[in-house]
């Protein structure tokens, strides 16, 4: 006989805790660069553009699978984790992505926001938001458009 107000079982409780923790994204700042700023030509209007690509830590995912399984399945997940870790070995910024050209259209996109074509104070920011083994790999460019007519 089960009580209606009984607490969730331990694995379910842990799953809920992990889900809650994983749903809160952790921000990561990898690199930033600031350019020259010209405030002598006219009024400045802020412009900003960012692109986001799905990053996946597959070895981390396999590690979670290993933790959640038992016996032979756990050993298989461990083997997969080790192979994935070896494949993705080496220096990198953030999690691996499946398309490395996702940031190529940044300049064209930011120029569209600036009809005068005069951009200044550009800040290039490489950052990420991690949700466990999944992350958003973000490239952001902020800056100012010089409105010389004003």
């Amino acid at each position: 006989m089960t009580s209606r107000n009984s607490k969730p079982a331990a694995p379910l409780r842990w799953t809920l805790i992990l889900l809650a923790a994983g749903s809160v994204g952790c921000a990561r700042l990898d690199q930033m660069q600031m350019g020259s700023l010209d405030q002598s030509q006219g009024k400045l209007t802020p412009v900003s553009f960012s692109v986001n690509e799905l990053g996946l830590d597959m070895a981390g995912g396999a590690e979670i699978a290993r933790q959640l399984t038992k016996g032979q399945a756990s050993q298989n997940a461990q083997a997969v984790r080790d192979i994935l870790a070896l494949i993705n070995m080496g220096p990198r910024t953030g999690n691996p992505v499946f398309d490395d050209s996702y940031s190529d259209q940044l300049l064209a996109s930011i120029q569209q926001q600036c009809p005068s074509g005069q951009l200044t104070g550009l800040r290039s920011i490489r950052e990420g938001i991690a949700y466990g083994p999944v992350s958003g790999e973000v490239v952001r460019v902020d800056g100012y458009c010089i409105n010389s007519a004003e």
């Binding site: 809160v24 994204g25 952790c26 921000a27 990561r28 700042l29 990898d30 690199q31 930033m32 660069q33 600031m34 350019g35 020259s36 700023l37 010209d38 405030q39 002598s40 104070g121 800040r123 920011i125 950052e127 902020d142």
Partner: protein, 99 residues
């Protein structure tokens, strides 16, 4: 024993710095007016939810060079770890010229 504890405490409190990125733009010939600003963010175990502190650095520079041209911008992004507390810091300097 006390000496070792003191040494360990000093080592932990002094902080370990890692330099993440450095960049520099073209430097002007006239370099008489240097302006510097910094912005930082403190977090427990490095858990942060936004990177908005970066924008504060640009605002600081803008205010110090009103109506002028800021060139030779040197940007440094570094992390300092004080045991469990992480300080993320952006330090920016440049030369402001008002012609």
């Amino acid at each position: 024993m006390k000496v070792w504890i003191t040494l360990c405490l000093l080592a932990l409190l002094s902080g370990c710095v890692s330099l993440n990125s450095v960049s520099m733009t073209q430097v002007p010939a006239q370099r008489s007016n240097q302006v510097t600003t910094s912005a930082d963010h403190w977090s427990l175990l490095g858990i942060a939810f936004s990177n908005d502190f970066v924008d504060e650095a640009m605002t600081g520079l803008q205010q110090q060079c009103q109506g002028g041209k800021l060139e030779g911008v040197y940007t440094k992004y570094q992390n300092t770890l004080y045991l469990l507390i992480l300080q993320r810091e952006v330090i920016v300097s440049g030369y402001c010229n008002r012609s």
